[in-house]
């Protein structure tokens, strides 16, 4: 028995949707990575480019929305196709939010002084690398329909929480040493929090991939690491 749809154009529409989502994913990855670099290197020249790339991501989001609406109305998808369609809708929303958070981080670079001490940025850098790895892994799990890998990402969000806590502590330490640091330290705190929230969206995507593959939601509550009280 063939795995292709009898109606070729249906097959093509689903493939087109998957391709769009993968492209949106890789765009979101580059943007997150660029924004992270900009913060760590206090690279003010790249801010505009990052803000611009967020517009691209938003365009993808509305393109995917339209594709999904068309699929729903034309094909009334069932079973795996229904899960594929609905999952694309959810994943594209999470990617768009990650894009917004990256944009927000890029904007935080502007007020930062150029001579930030390495120990302050070290923990933030580690957090950023972990979040990027998580995004990369979750997108891989989507492409390969890999339940175990998605679940691994879901479990690893605990580490994102822990690193967020550590990064926050080092910023607060720095801040408490000299009140002059207050202004830009606040920006660093927000940047750290943004990364943690990006991690949460990645966890959402991991849950969606698990549902897409197996047709059932992960049981139990999300693993939680140390949390800074809001």
């Amino acid at each position: 028995m063939s795995n292709e749809h009898t109606v070729k154009s249906y097959e093509e529409e689903l493939q087109f949707l998957k391709d769009s989502l993968i492209k949106m994913g890789s765009l979101t990855e580059s943007q997150l990575s660029d924004a992270m670099d900009a913060v760590i290197k206090v690279d003010k020249d790249s801010i505009d480019k990052i803000i611009k790339s967020d517009e691209e991501i938003n365009k993808f989001r509305s393109k995917i929305d339209t594709q999904i609406m068309n699929l729903l109305v034309k094909r009334a998808p069932m079973a795996i196709d229904l899960r594929e369609t609905i999952s694309s809708l959810k994943i594209s929303q999470d990617l768009e939010r990650i894009g917004d958070l990256s944009k927000s981080n890029a904007k935080k670079v502007k007020p930062l002084p150029l001579d930030l001490p390495d120990e302050l940025l070290g923990n933030l850098k580690r957090l950023g690398e972990l979040v990027m790895k998580q995004l990369n892994d979750v997108l891989d799990s989507y492409v390969n329909k890999n339940f175990d890998k998605a679940k691994e990402v879901w479990e690893k969000d605990e580490q994102v929480d822990d690193l967020t806590y550590i990064a926050m502590e080092s910023v607060i330490d720095f801040l408490s040493k000299d009140k002059k640091n207050l202004d830009f330290s606040t920006h660093l705190i927000f940047a750290t929090k943004n990364l943690e929230r990006a991690g949460d969206h990645i966890t959402n995507i991991a849950e969606t991939v698990c549902y897409l593959v197996k047709g059932e939601y992960l049981k139990g509550s999300r693993p939680k690491g140390k949390v800074i009280q809001d």
């Binding site: 028995m1 063939s2 795995n3 292709e4 749809h5 009898t6 109606v7 249906y10 009334a76 998808p77 069932m78 079973a79 795996i80 196709d81 229904l82 899960r83 197996k214 047709g215 059932e216």
Partner: protein, 253 residues
């Protein structure tokens, strides 16, 4: 979970040398709608025809295995088929009213089954059946007109009223909406929702969307075998069997 109304065990049907059903084990719950789906010739209609012994009318047809209603063996040679069909009504793909008045279409069944001795009792049955099939308001002033003068959708509701008139326990529907427009289809589906409070319903349909809308349980047949049966929601969101998935998603070659 409702009680099991109809139970088939290792049910086999042969038309001459050709086997049409293979060891079908399928339970139908009371006061629930079960949808049977599958490509043409997969055995779904053959299966429902076992429930009211419609296969009896085909000389070369042989049925083996077990099929029961409330524990009663439907295949029992001594079973009174007329009284079985009083308990198990049927509605077909094409509306097939008798070439008689609307009134007679409905009163005919109760009359031959000895229900409704007086005119007023029959009037009551006709009115109730038409009300239950959501047709009363449309035809109450023209009960003398021929059933065939109604629109397709109305004729199908007339056939449902005719099936209800003898107060059955089970209603079999073999693609009841395939000849109807979307509005008439919606009315029948609305009616099925109402009827399931009273009757056990089995519907054969080629429309997946209809199966999802009207049924609580769905069975998928392929080449005479029941491939998968389960809660409708599960079958259409996340079926266990790859063949079921291929069929409902339109991947069947």
């Amino acid at each position: 979970m409702n009680n099991i109304k109809i139970k088939s065990k290792n049910l086999n049907v042969y038309y001459g040398d050709k086997q049409a059903l293979f060891d079908v084990n399928l339970d139908l719950n009371e006061k629930e709608v079960t949808a049977l789906i599958g490509p043409s010739g997969c055995g779904k209609s053959t299966f429902i025809r076992c429930i009211n012994r419609m296969n009896d009318v085909i000389d070369i047809c042989k049925v083996t295995g077990n099929i029961e209603m409330d524990g009663m063996n439907i295949n029992d040679k001594d079973l009174d088929v007329v009284s079985l069909r009083e308990r198990v009504g049927m509605v077909f793909q094409k509306p097939n009213p008798f070439p008689k008045s609307i009134y007679d279409n409905i009163s005919y069944g109760p009359k031959i089954h000895g229900k409704g001795e007086t005119k007023s009792e029959l009037d009551q049955i006709v009115e109730n059946s038409l009300k239950k099939s959501a047709l009363w308001e449309e035809v109450k002033d023209r009960l003398d007109e021929p059933g065939t003068s109604l629109s397709g959708g109305q004729q199908q509701r007339l056939c449902i009223a005719r099936a209800i008139s003898v107060n059955p326990e089970v209603i079999l529907m073999d693609e009841p909406c395939s000849a109807l427009d979307p509005i008439a289809t919606a009315k029948i589906e609305e009616l099925i929702d109402e009827l399931k409070k009273t009757y056990t319903i089995v519907i054969v349909t080629h429309s997946m969307a209809q199966a999802v809308r009207v049924s609580q349980k769905t069975g998928f047949f392929h080449l005479g075998k029941l491939i998968e049966v389960g809660k409708t929601e599960k079958i259409f969101k996340n079926p266990d069997n790859k063949m079921t998935q291929d069929y409902i998603t339109g991947r069947f070659g």
